[in-house]
Amino acid sequence: MPGSPIEPAAGRRRSGAKRGWTFALVAPLLLFLAIGFLAPVLLMMARGVTDHELATAWPLTAEALREWDGRGLPDDGLARILGTEMRASRQAATLNLVANRLNYDRVGSRSLVYATAAAIEEGAPAESVADLARIDPRWGEPAQWATMRHAAGPLTSFYLLASVDRRLNADGRIERVEPEQAVFVEILLRTFKISAVVALLCALLGYPVAYLLASLPARWANPLLILVLLPFWTSALVRTTAWVVLLQTEGVLNNLLLDVGLIEAPLALVYNRIGVYIAMTHVLLPFLVLPLYGVMKSIPAAEMRAASSLGATPAAAFLKVYFPQTVPGLAAGMIIVFTLALGYYITPALVGGGGDQMLSGSIAFYTNQTLNWGMAAALSLLLLLPLALMLFAGRYLVRTVPA
């Protein structure tokens, strides 16, 4: 607070009471966000590192699996417990829960669980591992039991590993998943690439605009600033909608180019990567211009005049005196654009094609379509990780800016 140093003694005497009322004012929102924001986000993240399906459906089996050393095949006691609980969970209709969970790890486990449970209910003996293997030979494979053990909980690395196309094999070592299941690294790299390209495009388009705004007198800069703020104020959905309308095959831009004769056939500008780049750059450009403009405004004009009066060419004065001072603003703007782009969902969903969907699209897919919430949570953790790094970078950046 400005002005506080002049009243240290008085301030200290009152500080007890003052702290009381400032905290009382902050408390309602603090409480609201702790319950309504922090808790849900932490609970969601916890789903990415915990496993509870198997433990819910087969509690005793889960306990026995956790105690088992995981080498080779388990003893017959475990098989007996599993047999009993399979039968019980089939009657309690909790079988699909665990069958789906096991199927994420090892394809085919769903039908294996259903068929085995059905056979046991019809009277097949399930007193030993050998008995189970007679129902289905897969119960004789260590890999199937390893899958069971990975799902026993309470903690699991399964979803986090799966989110980078890795998994634990039967020996407990990390290996790549089969190529046809390996999708996430590609999506992750694509998300980073799209975000980086958008940040770069925003820098290229935004730098000259910020420079012009900073060099104009206020009566010119203020109305032009409104042109930057207008899209900043309109919702991203409306602007994305506008781009779909403009860029589609029968859209305004293609018709215009055809009429003028610049092209002979309509260009594919939407539902592909070009559309994503155009629309996302448009939506995010103000986030680069505004911080950069703020930094440029604070650079005294006299410095450039001093440089040229000392004999620097305009280009040299710009590159050696002006540009280095704008780097913090440029970096801050690019980091803001990059991090915002990482989490984008609406724009890629509407203007992108199947090959342009980003991490957020996968998160939505696993939440709504396959109901694999553990996977959705692990992918969200992946999305938050670079964000934390960026926040750190941003704080470092702020500290390096001269006060």
Binding site: T22, P231, T234, T241, V252, N255
Partner: protein
């Protein structure tokens, strides 16, 4: 930098012209696409092209007579109003407390207050979804309002906090020393003086909810379909000119509302400008 310098060389003048030209293109890129939906929405034909044979309000009539759109409008308004009513007092109190706080916890509290703005909306959306689904709050009005309030409070805190920057807290001390209880000080002194700032914060809260798409996609039920949801579905399936009419109305609404917020913000700056000494 002064725009016209007497010793400017032809090369510098050419560079300046190049800069102005490039910026004109960027400004056009920023503004024209959003404005282009306006003429498209006035086209009497069912094609999404610029009107050639006169203008028509056909698609606006369509919008007003469509039960889906009018219901979405009512839903959006009621969710946004409820969000504003919750977020404005919460955010205002927090901003006042934060402005006077000297505790070491202050950066962390400020960080938590800003967090809903920084965390990707999809992450917030599924966090709510996972929380609400077992509680039966998915597909409910209350859940959507709560989620929007979380997203809207950072804007209220930031705007009111900014309005407080020029506020002279000696007035609070004076009122208290004359015997006013804290609630009276708050209602009679603080709130009237930073009123425009609070109003601006409320407008931002309203707009945050009114424009919000992602969280609504996850947790709104068929009875809470809002205007952004209606638009999202429309763009995804089949873009009709009705959508350009809706988009036009949204552009006008957000320009008016946020223009109002800007005026209020300036007014609050003027009211609380520290006296020149």
């Amino acid at each position: 930098m002064s725009p016209v310098s007497p010793w400017r060389s032809p090369g510098q003048r050419a560079a300046r012209a190049l800069l102005v030209g490039a910026c004109t293109l960027v400004f056009a890129f920023l503004v024209l696409p959003t404005l282009a939906v306006i003429p498209l929405s006035l086209n009497p034909s069912a094609f999404l092209v610029f009107p050639e044979d006169g203008l028509s309000l056909r698609w606006y009539r369509e919008l007003m007579h469509s039960p889906a759109w009018t219901r979405a409008f009512r839903n959006s308004i009621s969710v946004a109003v409820a969000t504003t009513l919750l977020a404005t007092p919460l955010g205002t109190l927090a901003a006042i407390g934060l402005a006077r706080m000297k505790s070491r916890a202050k950066p962390f509290i400020a960080g938590l207050f800003a967090a809903p703005m920084v965390v990707p909306v999809v992450v917030v959306a599924i966090a709510f979804y996972f929380l609400f689904a077992p509680l039966g709050l998915v597909n409910g009005f209350a859940g959507l309002v709560l989620a929007h309030t979380v997203l809207a409070t950072p804007f209220v805190v930031i705007v009111v906090h900014a309005a407080l920057q020029g506020f002279d807290f000696e007035m609070v001390r004076a009122a208290a020393s004359l015997g006013a209880p804290p609630t009276t000080v708050l209602i009679r002194i603080l709130v009237p003086l930073i009123g425009p700032g609070i109003a601006a914060g409320a407008v931002f809260a309203f707009m945050t909810s009114f424009d919000e798409t992602v969280v609504a996609l996850f947790i709104a039920g068929p009875d809470q379909r809002t205007i952004p949801l209606q638009m999202f579905e429309g763009v995804r399936e089949q873009i009709s000119p009705t959508i350009t009419a809706a988009a036009t109305l949204l552009v006008i609404a957000s320009s008016l509302l946020l223009g109002t917020a800007e005026l209020l913000r300036r007014r609050s700056e003027r009211m609380n400008r520290p006296p020149v000494s």
